[in-house]
Symmetry: C2
Subunit: 467 residues, 2 copies
């Protein structure tokens, strides 16, 4: 823009001097109130927080809680009791049918090279069928992608297909690396079943080079029953060793055995609590995580952390004496891991009841130190949210990217709702994700509490400024 | 400012249109080069990094390495060999005499209430004298500050003084909480010795409520020999229990025994490597951490992380084919923990040799995920550094606060040097600091590598833009 034009446009945009002063004063006062309120959330979370004690209870007394399991049912009761003890305006269970997959006996795997046997840490993937009772044994074909496997086609017949594309460690955000690999886990078996492959093993979804196999959901899609083959994950150490040994001895035999199965759907529940809005009781802001976890461990970071943080949001609001204008709901979603039935049910009911959901926030990226929020909203609202950065950046919340917010709240998506994903630091998440070591001791108390306060601050600002 | 004045001032500040365009183009090109160079540092650190392997080696093969110990000497040789293997232009050892305090036999402590004996996790503080051979036993007086202890004065005679002021958990940065408590550890014994107290025990310096006693430096200052009393730290769980039991039973007896002693100073070394500057070989940029650690553990976060990151800075610069304009030095400082002799010696030699040190960067806050740098410099230079925020914030480096940079580089301070402390996230640091659990497994590979790349990026920018 030329200088003369620049000046002209400044003249046009200038408002009278007195008006500026008034607005500025008001704005400063509002900002100060917000700043103090937010500081108070953080102080209370760090010094009078409940999230860590709740997480200890959920992870150690309820434990792993896969949908349809007795532990998942125990978790529902745990959640309902906890919400009721906090004196919210309303607490209820929202029924939902969920898948019921069981792992069965502990899996077993090894391969042999020149009479040396190498034991392999392995776990069945959620949704997989079992091997035959005696297990499956076969030669191994290593591939790096679904595309490569598809191109090999009939060459895979009678083989165990080994998907071994590792995380791209150059990516800063480990979720992006996960996103770049997880198709192997989710769709590997569905891709090669039609070629007559015997089974699929997949490298665990992590950058960490260790002995923990990572489970997770897989799907056969709509392939015929006779093309369904057993599918398991092996540890990254084992994947590296196997890949190395395959180069030296392409005919080595790999054996594994698993006895998992899918049982009929089970009744379960989303657990919901709410504080009634004082001005717009029929407009809703939802905050939540998922109550179910994989069965291998305690589900501490995934997603016990999100559960206790979400409950803490409502408790911290109450503790600060804030009477929200909108109705604030906490939802402990059931069945994020292998079906998303809870998230779908919640959105379905919201639609049936013509609910006006203006915003939703999910925490499902672990209980790590705060980095920001990912946001899905209209451009106008996004501008509003960016204006809050100054209030939130002192707490390490600098990342306000446009992006995926959360699986459970995804089905609520519409033109009028703003969706948020709480984004803690991502570096350690996939060290634990879906493994036996996702346990309570991996969660740092203060990091968890900072997350709860971050979420509370966002919900406070949404309630105050979003209509 | 009134609109008309505002416009006038804009007119004055406007440069010719063509000039703006030229400068802007150049600036964009430079920024793009810098941006790509920095991206490359991060990529190389994350995919071809050496810091994690080096840290494994230092922590597990050398282990804890307190100044004056055989392990510290082994660490010097480790450092020298490593630097030599990296083909820097020059590698040498800088001699320095260091204190030599030894812990002796494992400490023992307990207290008894109504014939029930409570064992207490305890460790002598660095610099403390031993108890008598049979240990020390006495009633306990709990205080929360040096001031409170001083006010009690003669009432402390014949007592064991228990300093029990906890971390202020409301503070976001745990180093601030540490700063608010550590006087109890450092000066507690010197404060109450003159009142005839028998001994001092201090609550461990951490927010974490657990069973790990945290050692660390203490000083008797210049008090007479006969006022020196034994000084130890107890775990936070034990501190809470003792405090509780004292309220119920103020006359309970506390016993502990330690056999630590200070031996004569030992010869040791700073280990130094450098890449010669191509334009200003006599201007220096120093990057370093401290090679010594406490004896209780492997010194992984404190400060093995800083050591391997600092070495990695020079390796990553070389790997990118960058020929620095200034001479870049890595210094593995000896004796930060209990004397700072290495840092003082380095600054002393720099002065003797009339070295022009333009900048120094220290990493001594753990190998955690990046948050920023704390900076001590002239106001003008600080403005220059703030201008780099856009280049660094994509990597989580948002905090560019004015503040303490690092103990080892502190003695270099002058009007002309800019000092930087690498600041990773602080939440977990004091879970491990100076305890037996500061071990290799507590360091996340990617977090460590991100730190090394952050430091490399800063050194690159300093070399390019600071004169």
């Amino acid at each position: 823009m030329k200088p003369i034009l620049l000046m002209f446009s400044i003249m046009l945009s200038l408002t009278p001097f007195s008006k500026i002063t008034m607005d500025k004063k008001e704005k400063i006062a509002t900002t100060e109130t917000d700043s103090l309120t937010i500081a108070n959330f953080f102080k209370n979370s760090l010094t009078k927080g409940k999230s860590y004690d709740w997480l200890r209870d959920l992870t150690t007394n309820v434990g792993g809680r896969l949908s349809g399991s007795p532990e998942a049912q125990k978790a529902v009761i745990w959640g309902e009791n906890l919400l009721k003890s906090l004196n919210f305006d309303k607490v209820w269970l929202q029924p939902v049918m969920v898948p019921h997959w069981v792992r069965g006996e502990k899996e077993k795997a090894y391969f042999t090279v020149n009479n040396t046997k190498y034991d392999v840490p392995i776990c069945a993937l959620g949704g997989s069928i079992a091997t035959s009772k005696n297990g499956v044994i076969g030669e191994v074909v290593e591939v790096k992608s679904l595309k490569e496997a598809t191109e090999m086609g009939e060459k895979l017949k009678g083989k165990i297909v080994f998907f071994n594309r590792p995380f791209d460690d150059a990516l800063l955000n480990t979720f992006h690396a996960y996103g770049g690999c997880v198709d192997q886990r989710y769709s590997g078996a569905a891709t090669v079943g039609k070629f007559g492959a015997l089974a699929v093993i997949v490298r665990s979804m992590t950058s960490s080079i260790d002995d923990n196999p990572h489970t997770g959901a897989m799907s056969y899609g709509s392939i015929p029953e006779n093309e369904k083959i057993p599918n398991a994950a092996i540890s990254t150490n084992a994947a590296n060793l196997l890949s190395k040994k395959l180069k030296e001895n392409p005919n080595l035999k790999f054996y594994f055995k698993q006895s998992c199965q899918t049982l009929p759907d089970e009744p379960s529940f989303n657990v919901i609590g709410e504080i009634k809005g004082s001005v717009f009781p029929n407009k809703y802001i939802t905050v939540g995580g998922h109550l179910d976890s994989w069965d291998l461990a305690q589900g501490a970071h995934d997603d016990g952390a999100g559960i206790v943080q979400s409950i803490e949001v409502l408790r911290l609001l109450k503790l600060s004496g804030i009477k929200p204008k909108h109705t604030i709901r906490v939802v402990l979603f059931m069945n994020e891991e292998n079906g998303l039935r809870g998230g779908k049910k919640y959105a379905e009911e919201a639609k049936l009841n013509h609910e006006n959901n203006i915003a939703a926030l999910e925490s499902d990226s672990g209980g790590f130190t705060p980095r920001g929020f990912s946001i899905g909203s209209t451009a106008n609202n996004y501008k509003l949210f960016l204006g809050w950065k100054k209030l939130l950046s002192p707490y390490g919340l600098n990342d306000f990217s446009v992006g995926h917010a959360g699986s459970d709240i995804g089905p609520l998506k519409s033109d009028s709702i703003s969706l948020f994903g709480y984004r803690p630091d991502s570096q350690r998440y996939f060290d634990y994700h879906h493994t036996a070591i996702d346990t309570f001791d991996k969660v740092n108390k203060r990091e968890l509490e900072l997350g709860a306060a971050s979420m509370t601050s966002l919900v406070y600002l949404l309630d105050k400024y979003l209509n």
